[in-house]
Subunit: 256 residues, 2 copies
């Protein structure tokens, strides 16, 4: 299988390496920034290109791993090719690629950072195809790198992506705010690691409504008032109040 | 060592079991609700009491594991005893116990839920003592159940507790909101487990500022606008906007 990677960021890097390990050939890496295309091409033994019109036309799979806002215009600038075009975006519909006949989606539900190894086998992949043949093709490709592949419509993928923003991006932001608070007292962030690990591990077994602990779910006003005294940043106070109120609202509706 | 547990909730249960496993005798469990005192006493082979004036006066350690708002009044109702009194609260100062001469704090930085086993050995314990002898006593007690014990003042413990509310209670609330979003589309929460696990694991190696991914840190307005279209609940919209803005502010200050 010959694969062209459109994009050279975190998703392109992780998926490119996984597909290469699964026995495929990454023939080209496109990036509008040549240095980025060269860097990832070197890792994957591919050819770099910085003009979208220069991608080869005879690959089996063209994998779009680019930012949502340039996906459609890049697809429209692509040359006519054989093979399947698939994008990897959680929030863009399948139809964004409709300048080509054989189109699909391979969406990995995971947070990718540079310089962090990830085992793709455990990542859930959500696939979609314009027709049965394309879907089946993408399913076999995804199953070669992950044990957790399922079909999902564009509509549902959009909702899944929104839930992932809360579960990942926003929970990481809570870690960031905790780090800011500790910094003021010169306390190391690493103190929180066992707590963070256990908080994440708990929801593998319990629903997060049941797992909720802390002053907000008990609606312990004395503790919350003392916490607000410690928070001088207005944005942090706003977040503390909004989240505490919402935890309380959910806890009450849960018991009614 | 004879220990009296004042309280019968999650913290009393987990610490009581850990101290018993470490070879101590839990002589009594106090709860104002007799059924609760009986239930935990049965697990720990202790005697239940529901009147604070009925606790024995000759134990070595009186461990207060009760809600912050009743801690001081309970301490004031205690009979005169020998031994050390220690509370387990993150946000209450040492001085709340000052009706007794030998007082201290053993604060476990962890989230405790009923019916969930926890290995105390990995839990960070933060101790404080009114004098060197009390501190040294509490240190040896804490070290018998955990490998991670350090001294911390009431002032710093209060800040640590606030950071834990963000890192644990609020990140769990993010999981709860993600669960609510998925429920609308009949998607199972378990889909998010690999993402939640990886998000927590990342910050063992990277600072959360560096680990941040998603539309808010890229300030991808198109994606954020589409997400807001999917959120009908006004509280959820407010939270989405406040957190996205704050992620963007931190990302910018980080690069300046």
């Amino acid at each position: 299988m010959k694969i062209v990677l459109i994009g050279s960021g975190n998703v392109a890097t992780h998926l490119g390496e996984a597909f290469k390990r699964a026995g495929n050939e990454i023939v080209q890496v496109y990036s509008r920034t040549l240095a980025h295309a060269v860097s990832l091409s070197t890792r994957l033994r591919a050819t770099p290109v910085d003009m979208i019109t220069a991608v080869i036309t005879a690959a089996d799979l063209y994998l779009f791993c680019v930012k949502d806002d340039i996906l459609q215009s890049l697809a429209e600038q692509m040359p006519r090719t054989s093979g399947v075009w698939a994008h990897t975006s959680g929030s863009m519909p399948l139809s964004v690629l409709s300048s080509h006949p054989s189109i699909g989606v391979i969406y990995p539900l995971q947070t990718f950072s540079k310089d962090r190894e990830l085992n793709c086998a455990n990542i859930p992949f959500f696939i979609e195809g314009i027709d049965a043949a394309t879907l089946s093709f993408l399913q076999s490709q995804a199953q070669a790198i992950s044990m957790n592949v399922r079909e999902l419509s564009s509509e549902k993928r959009r909702v899944l992506h929104l839930s992932a923003v809360f579960a990942c991006n926003f929970s990481n932001h809570m870690y960031a705010l905790a780090a800011q608070i500790l910094q003021q007292e010169d306390l190391p962030f690493t103190l929180l690691n066992p707590l963070i690990t256990e908080t994440a591990a708990k929801v593998e077994e319990m629903h997060p409504f049941v797992a909720q602990t802390g002053p907000a779910v008990r609606f312990d006003k004395a503790v919350m008032r003392k916490h607000l005294e410690l928070l001088s940043d207005p944005k942090m106070r706003e977040i503390y109040i909004a989240l505490s109120e919402n935890i309380h609202v959910i806890a009450q509706s849960d018991h009614s």
